[in-house]
Structures are given as C-alpha cells and as structure tokens.
Amino acid sequence: MDLPKRGALPSPESQTMHDIRREPAPPEIRDSLIIRFAGDSGDGMQLTGSRFTETAALAGNDVATFPDFPAEIRAPAGTIAGVSGFQLHFAGRDITTPGDRPDVLVAMNPAALRKNLADLPAGATIMVDDGQFTARNLQRAGFPGNPLEDGTLDQWKVIPVPLAKLASDATEEIAELTPRERERTRNFFALGLTFWMYTHSPEPTAAWIRRKFGEDSALGRANLQALQKGYDYGVTTEVFAHRVEVPRAELPQGTWRNITGNLATAYGFAAAAQLAERPLVFGSYPITPASDILHTLSRLKNFNVRTIQAEDEIAAICAAIGAAWGGAIGITSSSGPGIALKGEAMGLALMVELPLIVINVQRGGPSTGLPTKTEQSDLLQAIHGRHGESPMAVLAPSGPGDAFEMAIEAVRIATKYMTPVLFLSDGYIANSSEPWQIPDVSTLPSLAVPTAAEGEEPFLPYARDPDTLARPWATPGTPGLEHRVGGLEKADGTGHISYDPANHEHMVALREDKIRRIAQDIPPLEVHGETDADTLVIGWGSTRGAIHGACERLRRSGHRIAHAHLRHLNPLPANTGETLARYRRVLVPELNRGQLSRILRSEFLVPAVSLSQVRGLPFRVTELAERIAHALEDA
C-alpha cells in the first residue's frame, strides 16, 4: 500500500485528501502514546479505535489494543452502563501491552468522561464533545454539576470540541441524510482530528470508507466528509498547533499487518486444514467472545471450510466429532458456558480417539458471568473438566498473533496423536490486536497424516503406532476397513466392547500415556531475562505481554528476575520441573484464583506463589510490577 510519508505534507498534485492551509509547527516526538476512545455503545468507538490502530500500524508503529465494551448491545444512551471503550498503545519501540493509563481520552459524552476519569494520570489530555454536556446527559452520567465548568477537571488538559455540531455542519450538503444521521458521523470527525493531532494520515481510513460504504453512497460521502473536516479542523484551529509524533518502531524485517486474536485463530485453523490436506468442518453455536471465529470461517468456503451453526453447543461439538470420524479436521468453538455443555462429548472424542479441536475463548465466569470481559479461569476445567479419567492435550496462545501458530500446533498434535485438543484463548486475545509478521506460507510445515488403507490382515481400529500410541484414522467409505467405534470401554486392538477389569486399567493408562508422550514432541520451556536470578515469574496465555512488561520494569529498577511463559499446558514441556527447581522463588500471575500455581505445586512440589486478579480486565504493567516487587520482599 502506497502511503504518504509520516508527517510530510502531500504535494498539491497528491490524490490524498489533505487540504493544508498553513505550515504547522514541527510536532513533539514521543516514544509512545496511549489513546482511549470512549462513548456510548452505539457511537462507533470500536470502529474508531480499530481505524486508528490500523493507521498507526501501517505507519510503522508497534501497536497493542484493548477493546472494552459492555455485554448489552445498546444500554440506555448516555448512561455509565452503556460506555464502550477502545484503548490503544502505539509506540516507536517494541511494546507488549495496550498500556495502563491513557495519555489521551476522547470522550463522546459525559458518561464516557466519568467512567474513565479515574484511569487518567494528571496532565493527560481530554477531548470531549462539549455539545453533549447538557443537563440531562450530565444527570444520566451522575455528575452533580458540569465538570467542564466547575473545576473538576483542573488537573487535566481539556479540549472541548462540539463534535456533533461540527460533523453535522461538515455534512450539510448531503441532503439524503437527516440531521441526526449527519451528527452520527462525529466519530469520523473525531478520528480525523486525532489523526491530525498525532500526525497520522487519514488516507487509509478514507480508502477503508470507500471500500466499506461505497464512494457514492450518502453514508460513504458523509463519513469521508466528516473525516476530512475533522482533519482540517486540526489544521486551522490554533488549539491543535501542538502535535505529537510517535516514530516508527524497529520491527523485524518482513511484511506486517495488524491482526486480532479471533482472526488469527480462524486463519490458523483454516491454514492448518490446508496443511493437513483435509476439509475443515466447523461446528459452533454463537457465544461472546468466540463468535467472530465462526463469522470469519463461514466466509472461507473456497478454502473447503464447511461451517455449521448448530442448534446448541452439544450439537456443535458432536458435528465436529462426526466430521472427524469422516476424515475432516473437526473443530468446535465456544466460551466457558458452552465448554461446560460440551464436556460429555469431549469424553466421547477421547474415548474413540479421534482428532478434534475445541476452542475456548475464555470469559469471566462462573455462569453467564462477564460475557465481554477476559479471564483465565477455565484452565483446570480444560485439563480436568470431564468425567472419568479423561486426559486431553491443552494449548494456549500467548497473544493475538501467536494464536495463528498455536492453531497449527493444535491440529498437528490432534492428528498425530489422534486426540482431542483444547485451545485456550481468552476475550483479551480474541478482540485485541497487534502487528503480525505475515508468514511465508511455503515455510509452514505439512500436517499430512496418512488415512488407513485396506491391508492383508483384518483391520484393527485400535492398533497403535509404537511411538505416539495413535490409532489409525480409518474413514468411512474406505473398502475393507468397516469397523465400530463408541463410548463404551473397548479392548485395545479390536475395539470390541470390554468390561474386563484389567483391560479397563490398561486402557486408562494407555490414554494417559498417549498424552504424556506429547511432552517429548513440543518445545522446551524457555526462560527469558536473568535466567540465573533466584526468582522466576511464570505465566500462560494472554498475560505474556503484561508479565514481560512488569519484569522489564523491575529490571530497570535493579531487580534480578526471570520470566517463562507456558503455551503447552497439558502436557507441560518436559523440562518444566527442572526449570522450576532452579529458582528459589516461583511467582505465578494469573487472571484466576491460582489455577496454574496449583498445578505447578502439585506436579512439581515447588512453593509456587499465586498473584491472582479476577476483575475481568488484563493485568496493568505497573500494578503487576508492584505486586511482584512486593512478593520479592517476602523471604
């Protein structure tokens, strides 16, 4: 994509939409910046944040995002309950989290201001739509007076901009739209203005609007106009003379794009099915925050992806199991409540030893819990949450981009060992985004595994590969391999129903051994930072960025500390025990009540200490660093 150079003025012939009327002062250079867009659920804040993210990424910044929205689609307008936020951190260096406290808050109404005020450090910039600060809206937000006038905001730098009015004026000529509809373009006006303030080009968003709405549609023209006028407003208004530029980050060489975790998950599994040279059958029932995986895969039909929106969670996993029996890559996806419903069927899949992928995009629980918020509280459920002795492989990506790689890893393990695999993502990975180096497809590994074929001997559906203990994948339709599988205990080899006590003990041990053997076939646990320190901080899943950031921060203040991050949770990497044993102190930050720390304690008899948080939010780097520092003070 051909982009105007950062901070440079376009030439008069330029086809971009800039209309520069005066020479701006050179921008202040900042290492990184955190912006939070906040407004009503219907104000388009997720879209606004995503567009800014794409633009910053295209301009070469490293970016990390945190979308945070309510479960209600449209809570009453103007209330705190309805506030939707999108925070993004863009930087000229490698960053791993969306940042703790925003430098800039763009608040579309009083409720958005009030909800986010506590997070703002003194001196932060607040841009507000002051036209929305009516008596009624102030009352809805719970402000006793008007904070723009009563000194409430004295410690911050407030920029009032009547966004709705300016947007409406900017789009006046578009007669097809009502004044109300014209006002609704104010998020693009705000976006144009922030592009000016942070020296980013509006052109990628203009191109996006043209693609999305069509250049000639009334809505497309209105949004383009609002975006342009917002940008121009910055150019012509003295108050925005102070601009900030965040330089390009030093990313590794290659071609990059921005990607969310759910998108990377969907692409990863579509890629894995291609690498396995088998169709993908995806059974799913809509649930927050997993549904985007279904949406994405349902559009990939030309990749031989067959999606089924099933009647319920159980049907969804059962369809994936039926498909796996039929030789396809069978996948189901859900979040905690749905995973609970799938438990019995997971047991069936591991009993009949078929490859199956179960994606759990974890959210706050129990029960309906916090549907749109993140949590890591399904780890023990993933490892143990089925009746009987029912071991299953469990993997967890450590960030949005990593979801792609781990999806391929999940299919590799499932098909090589003929076992169901649980893929533990979470709401934070699902919806947040980061720059992702696009892999060269030709370097991805083949995942082709043989399908059983008719031989001389009578076919044994439970014959075993001596190394992996996998049974043959014999698909219906193949002559000579007719066989029966089922949930009843079976004799090894023949698969005949068996209630023999010794056989059951043998089979239980065999299914356990099969999963244990995977440990020899996965990368060892790596330790980063001061590997010879006496404290190891170990985590798993989406907390990688925050833990990494906290450890870095502590090292800068003189602490010696090592960090390890698990991506394989069952089995654990073969060297996990010996790694833990090297440290006097093992700290385990988790967004649950200490589930990994329990596993480490019981598996390896180490005095692992849990640093737990269950607020529906990711760790903040500063807070986590403080808690680690505090733990270091204890002997």
Partner: protein
Amino acid sequence: MSAATPPALTRKDFQTDQDVRWCPGCGDYSILAAIQKTFPELGIPREKFAIVSGIGCSSRFPYYMNTYGFHTIHGRPFPVATGLKAAQPDLHVWVVTGDGDALSIGGNHLMHTLRRNVDLRILLFNNRIYGLTKGQYSPTSELGKKTRSTPSGSIDPPVHPIRFALGCGATFIARSIDREPKHMVEVFHRAAKHRGSAFVELYQNCNIFNDGAFQLFTEKDTKAHHVLPLAHGEPLVFGREHEYAVVHEGFQLRVVKSADVGDDRIVRHDEHGPLAYLHALTELEDDPDHPVSAIGVLRAVDAPVWDELLHAQVESAIERQGPGDLQALLTGTDTWTV
C-alpha cells in the same frame, strides 16, 4: 478385460462376529434382521454404509452390523451423523435411536435435523419405556403409566413421534412394526431412496419392561381391525374383508363401515397431502373404542437437502473465487514492509 462386477452382497456380509446381547424375545432382533435383509438389496457398496446410534437398547445396533458404525452418546446421534455428512456427502448414513434418545434427551437435535432435511435415514425404535435403565417411563409412555419411577402413575402426557416429525416439517415420515418383517423391508427400501431426512417410527415390543404395548396392532386376532396399511393413491380401507373405510368429517377423519359409504367418499392416501390430513390420520389412534394405527409411508415430499446445499455453497465459492489462496488471505489488504 471388462470391469469386474463386485460380487453381490448377501445378508451374511452385514453380520458381525459379536454376540447380539438384547434380551431373548426383544423386538430389536427382527428389526436387525430386516435391515440385514434390506442392505444387500440396495446395490450400495458395504463401505458406503455408516450407522450412527445414541444410547439405549436400540443404540447397540451398530455393533451388530458389519458396516462403519458409531455408538455415540445419549441423544446425540443426529449431530454426529450431520457432521459425518458434512465431511463425506457420499455416505449412506442410518441413525438408530429410541424414544428416550430421540424424543427426550435428543429431542432438540431431532427437531433441527428434520427441519434441515439432512440426508439421513432415522429409525426410531419406540417401545414406550426406558429399557436399558430398567423400566422407567419414557416420553412416549401413556399418561398414568405406572413404572419404577412413577409408582403413582405418570403425569406427563406422551409426545407422539409422527406428530413431532410433522411439526418439524420432516420430508419423509413412515411407520412400521417389529412383528411385520415384510412390511419393514418395504418401508426401509422407501426410506433408503428418499433424498433428505427419512424418519421411520418402529413399534417395538420390550417384552421385559413393557410387554404388549402394541398388542392390538400385532396380535393375530386384533391387528386387522386396528392397523390401517397405507399405499399412495389407494383408498383408506382395512379389516380382514376391507370392512372399514376412512372418510372426511369436518376437520377430522373418521372410521366407518365400508358398506355404509360409497367408494367416492373414501379418502385416498396422498403422501404429498396437507400436514393437517396426516395429523388427522394419526388422530385415528385416539379413538378409545376403536383405535386405528396407520402404517406405511405417511409422507414423502421433495425438498432441498441440507448437505447438498452445504456442499453446493462450497463448490460454488471455489468456482467463483478459485481455490483459496492462503498467502493472499493472510496478507489481506493493509500491510507494510519493514
């Protein structure tokens, strides 16, 4: 050299070496025998058959058939079979289920399978009792039934399998009886040829926990008076001497003496007929003085088949967009190069 014709299959080709472990005298034996007679007559290679079952006495069926078989979990054979068809559209998939499996724990799946019209043959063994768990009432047990779990009598009115299927818009609905082997084979042939979901209710006697549940329709001296065999386009007459006929009466059907009505008043069976007609046909069972049960093919209509639509969408996407280009997909539209 001419292409060798594969040797014709026989009943023996579909038998397994497993001991059949149903109770002696169970109706399931004759159903198994009827299926083992039907399959070799269908001209389909053995490896193309797959039998998927749930949980219950009837669901042991796959172990006794030398085809591909999957004994799944309670109530879930329908989605497993649906997923199998999504993976392999060419398979000839039969689902074996019971009244508890299909209408209690799996009722939701049966509803959605039928309304989608997935290309499956569904055999529902209805014995109106829970056999495998030793004698509790089932969703098809009659009101007031005394069982181990309802010592004071069941207070749950029963669900009617055929009315349920009609409500779901099933495109093929039939009924047969375990004691009528010839009739079962005819019905299975019809079901095998249907495109989409072919739903077959089988009256099946559980001689241990609910013996004689269907005896009016099976015993030599009563069945002619109580069973109405259906044939498309033929008049609804039954009885040893065809002494009974069925006529319209308002929104209902009524059994009358054939001698009392002219031929032109006797209803002719129509497999494509309105749902209300088929519903009325099942209401003949409700007459306390003379219950009459229709057997044969009640409904057979053409409708789009779910798995054909699924695969057509995939094929048309490949035709339109070309086979998926993974590198282009991953790259997307907005990239930058370092």
